[in-house]
């Protein structure tokens, strides 16, 4: 891998994801990051829910591109993305979602996507449209830096964040190269598995975060399995950010945008490092 590129370290100037996490840090708390798949059940709802998340305490919003073969996703997210696709979601609509959220809030918005839809559009074309829509960058669950040369180059040029994943199984050597290739933050997978709420997030998560920090990552956020304010509090004690997905998708499915807003408020009560309720 060629790594003349900037890292998630102090050099990540201009990174919107980094800025959002640093803002939380300056308030003495971990950042809260929320995921929803775009187009579930329709594009306008995703925009409304994204805005609701931003207004109720999310520092960073992740919107996912529904994909036919989501190997890293568990049941709840699969069902939501299947519904989005059968409701006619097309990849180009992701830019309208990003724009719709960034126009109304100042939350950083990242797109989470499997790689083939980006490849199909063309990495550069996709990245340019994402930048134009105000997107912060991409989270790429099935793209490892080893295969990402074009994305490394284009994201560097356009100032977009590159969030790669690290896992409990990641070797020290890969941890170093992945941290170095990332920009914005590094996504630490809490357990060996796919997305889905879990009653407890394994002890492995803390070790992954420590390993990523040791490898030089300034910002490490933990995702997979987090669904409650208590888990957010527990993880926020050692990680720079906490990512919630499945629980928000289930809330949207069962109670619409209001339920997403309510869950976001509840989750954000878990992010205070020191005294609770330190932010609106």
């Amino acid at each position: 891998m060629t790594s003349t590129v900037q890292s998630s370290g102090p050099g990540a100037t201009g990174s919107r994801a980094a800025a959002a996490i640093e803002r939380a840090r300056s308030e003495n708390r971990a950042a809260l990051i929320g995921y929803l798949p775009a187009g579930f059940p329709d594009v306008q709802t995703t925009i409304d829910a994204g805005i609701a998340m931003a207004r109720n305490g999310m520092d960073l919003i992740e919107v996912g591109i529904p994909y036919s073969d989501p190997v890293m996703d568990g049941r709840v997210i699969q069902e939501a993305t299947v519904e989005a696709l059968s409701n006619g979601f097309t990849v180009s609509e992701i830019f309208a979602v990003v724009e719709g959220i960034t126009r109304s809030t100042d939350a950083a918005v990242l797109v989470m996507t499997y790689w083939n839809p980006v490849m199909r559009m063309g990495v550069r074309a996709f990245a340019e449209r994402l930048a134009a829509a105000g997107g912060a960058g991409l989270i790429t669950p099935d793209l490892i830096p080893d295969e990402a040369s074009e994305w490394l180059e284009v994201s560097e040029e356009l100032g977009l964040d590159r969030v790669f994943l690290v896992a409990p199984s990641t070797s020290p050597e890969r941890m170093r190269s992945t941290v170095e290739a990332s920009r914005g933050f590094v996504y630490a997978v809490s357990v060996m598995g796919v997305t889905g709420a879990r009653s407890s997030v394994g002890a492995a998560a803390e070790a992954v975060v420590a390993a990523a920090h040791e490898a030089g990552a300034e910002r490490v956020c933990v995702g997979l399995g987090v669904s409650t304010a208590a888990q957010v509090r527990e993880i926020g004690a050692y990680a720079d950010g906490v990512i919630v997905g499945t629980a928000l998708v289930a809330a949207l499915r069962d109670g619409g945008v209001d339920a997403v807003a309510e869950l976001t408020r509840e989750l954000s009560s878990g992010t205070a490092h020191g005294s609770a309720g330190g932010h609106p």
């Binding site: 036919s68 073969d69 490849m119 490892i144 060996m192 598995g193």
Partner: protein, 454 residues
């Protein structure tokens, strides 16, 4: 759907620089100074690689390392050879098909009899090898995907033989249509998990197997059934099937004193074809033909002709040709043959297609079923419907060879080898339904209507 028809495969208009033919490799190939055999991966030209979640990279590294060491270990290679000989029944025969040859322009036709292997197809070569590797890694559990059930049955067989737990993922619809193969796997001690996610087909079975693997990678080996997926799977699965091509090359030299003019195989993910092709890759005068499932006809959109009409993309860990829509979503494939009904293809085939070393053509359901009958009636061999695609291709190639004869040459001067990848016992109900051989209201008729393959 329409997207597929407008795009004509690798000449697709929006194919970026990375999609272009790897001209360096193509030149090396044309100037004959580079062997194409034993390509180690991870890349075959611009195809292959590891488009996989980071969580699985350590397991792929472990597998690659174990495989490299095993290949160099005489004890391991002896173990594989012994199982091949004393369990699978290798070497398989090479049978001249004189009456079938009359339907192939009169050229000589030889059938590589993988149908005579234990479990009835080439699949056993790969599962024995990988199950041995699983044991070397200290894993106690194997998981596999299956469409019609062939690879699932083969995996369950190898797991039983070597004392491994076996879980097979199979599309829910397929578990109903292939109830007898489900029972077969269960008899062999395997657990069959019906897959109800996504389109509930083979590709979704692979997705669910990958999800299982991520969560259980400590104890579990993913026994992938074809020469596709992330590195090292394509080159590793090929390695275990290379025995097909090696035996064939020796046998054809023995029986005819020469190399064949053409070698034919069917292509689903590409494992039987790559194993056969490998024996002849560096014999530049031997033409290699892969036959993909043309389903109802490539113009209908209902097919599985991935190389013919797909375009490069990533699925299940490898960059290769892929049936995808304009959004990069995987499209559903269609074929009368469950074993060819996959929207992807192994990356080494994508490379061989681009450099022109192998040619790939679609065969429709109707052409395949016609060749199926011809072989049954001329040779007394009922082939798998997958294999019937290779036979239909051989009929076309034979006729082309005969049409291109120079004055003074005989059709019988030309030689074709066909990889008879599997026997058709599993397909009897499908074929009987297709040819309307079953009495109305028989139990079998009901099964055949649902596409059961016995």
């Amino acid at each position: 759907m329409t997207d597929m028809h407008q795009d004509t495969g690798r000449q697709g208009t929006d194919a970026g620089a990375a999609d272009a033919i790897d001209s360096g490799t193509a030149e090396a190939f044309l100037s004959h100074d580079e062997s194409l055999r034993h390509a180690p991966g991870p890349y075959f030209g611009s195809y292959g690689g590891r488009w996989m979640p980071e969580s699985l990279i350590a397991a792929l590294d472990e597998l690659q390392d174990t495989f490299e060491k095993a290949k160099a270990d005489p004890e391991f290679t002896a173990q594989v050879t012994e199982l091949n000989q004393t369990y699978a029944g290798r070497p398989s025969l090479l049978t001249e098909a004189q009456r079938f040859a009359e339907h192939c322009g009169g050229v000589r036709v030889f059938l590589k009899r993988e149908d005579l292997n234990h479990t009835g197809s080439h699949k056993i070569n790969n599962v024995l090898g990988q199950a041995l590797l699983a044991k070397r890694m200290g894993k106690t559990r194997v998981i596999a995907e299956t469409g019609a059930g062939q690879h699932g049955v083969a995996s369950a067989t190898a797991a039983a033989l070597l004392g491994l737990e076996c879980v097979v993922y199979m599309g829910a619809e397929d578990t109903r249509r292939q109830a007898l193969n489900v029972a077969r796997m269960q008899l062999l001690g395997a657990t069959v998990v019906p897959v109800t996610t996504g389109s509930q087909t083979l590709k979704d079975a692979i997705n669910d197997a990958l999800r299982d693997w991520v969560a259980n990678v400590e104890t579990t080996h993913y026994l992938l059934g074809t020469a596709a997926g992330a590195h090292p799977f394509p080159s590793m699965v090929r390695y275990f099937h290379e025995v097909i091509g090696e035996e064939t090359r020796e046998q054809i030299l023995e029986q005819t004193g020469r190399l064949p003019d053409a070698v034919c195989a069917c292509v689903g993910g590409g494992s039987n074809a790559i194993g056969m092709f490998h024996g002849f890759l560096d014999d530049r005068d031997v033409a290699l033909y892969g036959f993909e499932a043309g389903g109802d006809g490539v113009e209908t959109g209902r097919h599985a002709a991935t190389i013919t009409l797909g375009r490069p993309g990533v699925l299940h860990g490898a960059r290769s040709y892929l049936m995808q829509d304009q959004d990069g979503q995987t499209m559903e494939s269609h074929s009368i043959s469950a074993g060819l009904d996959y929207p992807g293809v192994g990356p080494e085939h994508a490379f061989l297609a681009d450099i022109g070393r192998a040619k790939y053509e679609p065969i429709t359901d109707a052409e395949a079923m016609d060749a199926f009958t011809v072989l049954c009636r001329t040779e007394g061999i009922i082939p798998a419907i997958e294999t019937a695609h290779a036979l239909a291709g051989a009929m076309k190639i034979g006729q082309r060879l005969a049409a291109g004869l120079e004055p003074g040459e005989q059709a019988a001067d030309r030689v074709i080898v066909v990889n008879l990848s599997g026997r058709g016992d599993k397909d009897v109900a499908t074929a009987a339904g297709y040819f309307d051989l079953l009495p109305d209201e028989s139990a079998e008729q009901e099964i055949a209507e649902e596409g059961e393959q016995l």
